[in-house]
Amino acid sequence: MATATDAPQGPRSFPSRSNRGAGGRALRWLRANLFSSISSSLITLFLILLLGKMLISFAQWGIWDAVWSVPGNNTGACRAVRGFGACWAVIPEKFRFIIFGTYPYDEQWRPAAATLIFIALFYLSSRRKLWRRELVFVWAGALILIAFLMWGGIFGLSYVSQDRWGGLPVTLILATFGLAFGFPLGVFVALGRRSKLPAIRSLCVLYVELIRGVPLISLLFMASVMFPLFMPDGFNVDKLLRAQIAIVLYAGAYLAEVIRGGLQAVARGQNEAADALGLSYWQKNRLIVLPQAIRHVIPPLVNTFIAFFKDTSLVLIIGIFDLLTTAKTAIIDPAWQSFGIEVYVFVALIYFAFCFAMSRYSRHLEAQGR
């Protein structure tokens, strides 16, 4: 029923009186949204002042007084503007190191290609049309290809051990492999937590609550310090892999909770109908319950992915060269020591680009689901 009382939400549109044309509409919009009352007008003016002041001082620091390039490592020009001007010269100077870490310089097209494959993989996985079984094979193929590019050692590519990997590819590897392995783990744990078998249920509850109750750092410490203690003699696992295992375990616990929410949202009748058809437990979950459950929780899943992508930066604390660690290391160089802000702003933009794309996507999915 569309009656006159159904006032539209958000900016209110007044019936056109004397205002005609774009100018009048703009004025009306201003009045309705910025100057609707005295207090609103005061807030608007205050915010305009504040914003203007901030923008001007930022522009002064970041553009007008900034130094964009310096000859070689001679940072004299940058030092001269210290405190009031940015030194963007640090970015081109350290760009390759921040993005690729200590990967051999001449071979850096390989991590670059791996990064592009990652991005293509994310893009493909976001297309609803491509949500089919074959996507699993695409993922497996892409991950193998990335491993091949990063390690090399065959087809004429020189071998690069993972101690030399660094920067953005490492961040993407930690996040992506963490999810690729954490997701199935999460599915099993979520099923286990809803199982009728008490021993399995309590094991799953113990796992989820234990992991969620402690900070990720303590898990990473465990991986870096305690893990070697728990392994037999002479059995050595690479540091990156150890951190990866910790992230998988961490991701598994959080994803399990999200998926459990989806399982709870599947109508009981679906389970009962599957039982009535004589499907086994695994058949029932694989064919009937899980597809519906996961569809329910795709937006929160994407939000969890964003959280993990950000959380991978914690590996800095155990000394793994991800994007944030390379940034931090880049400014250890005495010549560039005092330009940390510029480097962090640059890296923040990279993280922001990934997370913002994902959060936009999640919102888009939510809007579609409604």
């Binding site: 234990l210 109750g213 900070p215 310090v225 203690l229 003699d233 950000k310 800095l316 962090y344 997370c355």
Partner: protein, 395 residues
């Protein structure tokens, strides 16, 4: 005998069949638990072997030894000659003090931004949305390092930024005026706290009476008397002086006043701004979850806007807000462990130093986990209690 009827025999055979749900369940459980136990036992035996090879003794005996680690920023009295146990306590207090203050500030800031996002003022709501989007999409650790580097770039104590008299912001941190608390002041504060409790009981009583006869009662004169007038009288009769100590520059540092170290300050800012972005979203969706009809009906009754917000909308919104808020508080507490990256000596940082000094990796990490599990449990219990209190009471 009845046991030998063919029907029962058939059933007994079925019970032992692999197709029986119960048997299958039992086998599954035995297999999974068996694997879990075997893995843990294997890891444990490896650990025992490795520790004996490296001559590291297990157990918590090291807690009684002298720590020998300096801790700069502490509330408890501590010197490097104290034991590891004492150092751990200092670390726990440091964690709690950043978490507790962080939770309060993040709630206040987050609520303000959440309400600003719903403002009818376009500019205000857009700015609030931008704040939320930017802070949520950048890793907390990066933000923390950013604040810390920014703070290190501040001028030294001599050229400190001095916005208000007695407040100094420099690379030595934030220095604020303070009031030295001694026995006299403690008495006055205790009286005020007692007065607050008495007022709370009184208010409950008067609300109960109002429920019976419908007459509202003014409680604010009692509040004034109990919380302000009586403590003031106590203060006057004891002759307590409330002098404010202004920080002063002595050489290269400040004397007097209350100093927040740059590490503490950076950690607090990072935690508060980051968490407030999430809290803002929770508050916004909580308020939006209250149906519009509630507003319209209350306004239709002629109630004031502030009254509607306080007594009609917020109590309903809180029910939606509290559970996700709990997990944000837990997140903030767990995230305070990032302190180790900038050298604020919280429990994780101190455990890490201990681990490096003594090699007691298992014990140190177990202590970190124990502390955080206890804090998490405490926050969860408190928030569950609060949630139960404000939950909808149905007939």
């Amino acid at each position: 005998m009845t046991t030998s009827t063919p029907e029962l025999r058939l059933r007994r055979r079925l019970r032992l069949s692999l197709r029986d749900e119960k048997v299958k369940g039992l086998i599954w459980q035995v297999v999974v638990v068996g694997i879990a136990v075997a893995v843990v036992a294997w890891l444990w035996s490896n650990a025992i072997h490795n520790l004996s090879v490296r001559r590291i003794s297990t157990g918590f005996a090291f807690l009684g030894r002298e720590a020998g680690m300096p801790i700069v920023d502490t509330w408890l009295p501590y010197s490097p000659k104290d034991t590891y146990l004492r150092a751990f306590l200092v670390g726990i207090v440091n964690t709690l003090r950043v978490a507790a203050i962080g939770v309060v500030l993040a709630t206040v800031l987050g609520t303000m931004i959440g309400i600003a996002r719903l403002s009818s003022n376009w500019l205000l709501s857009r700015l609030a949305a931008a704040y939320v989007e930017v802070l949520r999409d950048i890793p907390l650790l990066l933000q923390l390092l950013f604040w810390y580097v920014l703070m290190q770039g501040f001028p030294g104590a001599r050229a400190a930024w001095n916005p208000v008299d007695g407040v100094f912001l420099s690379n030595r941190g934030l220095v604020l005026p303070s009031i030295p608390i001694e026995a006299g002041q403690l008495w006055v504060l205790a009286t005020a706290a007692l007065g607050l409790m008495a007022f709370y009981l009184l208010r409950r009583h008067s609300i109960a009476r109002q429920m019976q006869d419908g007459r509202p009662r003014h409680v604010w004169p009692y509040a004034l008397t109990l919380v302000i007038v009586i403590p003031a009288l106590v203060s006057w009769s004891l002759g307590v002086s409330w002098t404010v100590t202004m920080p002063e520059l002595h050489g290269f540092n400040f004397a007097g006043g209350w100093t927040l170290s740059p590490e503490y300050f950076a950690l607090l800012i990072a935690l508060v701004t980051y968490t407030s972005a999430f809290i803002a979203e929770i508050v916004r969706s909580g308020i939006q979850a209250v149906p519009r009809g509630q507003w319209d009906a209350a306004v239709g009754l002629g109630l004031r806007r502030s009254f509607v917000l306080r007594h009609i909308v917020l109590p309903q919104a809180l029910r939606v807000i509290i559970p996700p808020m709990t997990s944000q508080y837990l997140n903030l507490t767990k995230n305070s462990s990032l302190a180790v990256a900038i050298g604020y000596q919280d429990i994780v940082s101190i455990a890490n130093t201990t681990l490096n000094q003594t090699g007691q990796a298992i014990e140190a990490i177990a202590l970190i986990m124990l502390v955080f599990l206890t804090i998490s449990l405490g926050i969860s219990l408190f928030m569950n209690w609060y949630n139960a209190r404000i939950a909808l009471v149905e007939r």
